[in-house]
Amino acid sequence: MRTLPVGDRALLVEFGSGEETEAFHAELLRRRAAGALPAVTEVVPAARTVLLDGVEAPERLAALVAGWEIEPLHARVDPVVEIPVRYDGPDLPDVAALWGVPPADVATVHSAAEFRVAFCGFAPGFGYLTGLPEAYEVPRRATPRTAVPAGAVAMAGPYTGVYPRSSPGGWQLIGTTDAVLWDPAREPAALLSPGTRVRFVPRGVGAR
């Protein structure tokens, strides 16, 4: 663990791996829920860091977290969010080729994994989901699309994500979902937040 000051009111806590980062984030949330964390406006987990923003005394907090014993990420028993997917994305044949499997097997492999939201960003409700074995990582597309439709299920690097709304994007599109990722009128507005467990459930093409 390494702590880096960010301005006068924030602290970046950095780790060597995504797993350590997620374990620290879970520990932070546990301690915050127990009232054992000084006031913080934002807790923003990312790939290798957790940002703590809106902190009265960042240096004191840095000393505090350095002394923590962090529980490993094992005993999560939160419910799993199921996202129904039609595996009909335009990049599915390319992903199948990269994996060296027939296109029909992409759904089998992808839906067998249990994912977890490592962090959010890019757009409200967009989660970066990890959980697919390393051997299935795929590169971004050489040329990003100017418009990816809302509900597109996409992959890049170690991550899977679902586009909450239409936007440009360079990820490989493998499917489509009707799940509503972001609805400001709903409580909570985001279907996925950091730490959420996720499974993708295959649906037949055209099925709802």
């Binding site: 959010c120 409200p124 507005a189």
Partner: protein, 298 residues
């Protein structure tokens, strides 16, 4: 006409609804948003008797014009500009009573960029996650104003306090931004850090509510690789591959993959919101006594 609403007669280049924004949702990818010059918003609100962070209109460069359907007390502040009511000159920076059906015209900024128009009762657009702010990055909150749009107003508060004149800070002739080095200053060469701290930059016309872009000496990287995405704060000075520092303002993305060389002190950011393109910019590093990691080249 007695309903509490106003019709947009002239939307202007970019006029948005802004209040205190949506802090606390960055982990869901939601920017904080809110008025870029919060001091100006607060003061305009106080002049009409509103709470300091009630929703106001934030104009950009060329003002706007609205026709309230009810008589309402209004104050225009922030960037100085001509104000008229049905064509007759009215006070800038003070409470003005606008009769029902009259046109309140907020003219082009004489100095600075963004004027703030507070209405007694506040703009009562539908809140999203507790805020009425327009967030241009993620499209949350009310859409930017369009000609002919109608915005509701909240109930008129009790009579405003009796200020008739208040001091307003003027827009800067030179933008001086005090910065705290890091968190990724070690991704830049000592020469780049020295250039950042000593050379003159200018405000780029490509600036917006997301970031104040600058023109000046590009900052050379010492580390070539890619930075995994990490959380971004208000005032972060992010350096994209072209090497030109971008200061993150209210609608900034919540995570980003380019290194942050330094962070601007929050109280300097209101001036950044009012700095017109071409304004000279200086970044002045400040360190805290308790800081143990001594950066190189600063």
């Amino acid at each position: 006409m007695t309903d509490r609403a106003l019709a947009v007669v002239r939307a202007g280049a970019l006029t948005t609804v802004q209040d205190g924004g949506r802090p606390g949702y960055a982990h869901l990818g939601v920017p904080r948003s809110g008025a870029l010059d919060p001091g100006a918003r607060d003061l305009a609100n106080r002049l009409v008797g509103n709470p300091a962070d009630a929703a106001v209109l934030e104009t950009t460069v060329d003002g706007c014009a609205v026709r309230p359907r009810c008589a309402v007390t209004v104050a225009v502040g922030g960037a100085p500009c001509p104000v008229t009511v049905d064509g007759r000159p009215a006070s800038w920076g003070a409470a003005v009573r606008v009769p029902a059906g009259a046109v309140l015209a907020v003219g082009a900024a004489v100095r600075g960029l963004r004027s703030y128009v507070a209405f007694a009762g506040g703009v009562a657009a539908e809140p999203v996650l507790g805020s009425r702010s327009t967030d241009l990055l993620s499209g949350l909150g009310p859409a930017p104003l369009r000609d002919g749009a109608v915005l509701p107003l909240g109930p008129e508060p009790p009579a405003p306090p009796g200020h008739d004149a208040v001091p307003w800070p003027g827009p800067p002739g030179e933008l001086v931004l005090h910065v705290r080095p890091g968190p990724r200053d070690d991704w830049f060469t000592a020469r780049a850090l020295s250039a950042f701290a000593t050379r003159a930059y200018r405000v780029s016309p490509a600036s917006n509510r997301i970031g104040l872009r600058t023109e000046g000496p590009p900052l050379e990287r010492a580390v070539a690789g890619e930075l995994p995405s990490e959380g971004m704060v208000l005032g972060a000075v992010q350096v994209p591959p072209d090497g030109r520092p971008v200061v993150f303002l209210a609608d900034h993305p919540t995570t980003g993959g380019y290194p942050v060389v330094a962070v601007v002190r929050e109280r300097d950011l209101a001036a950044a919101a009012q700095a017109v393109p071409g304004t000279p910019v200086r970044f002045i590093p400040v360190r805290q006594a308790s800081r143990s990691r001594r950066p190189r080249g600063w």
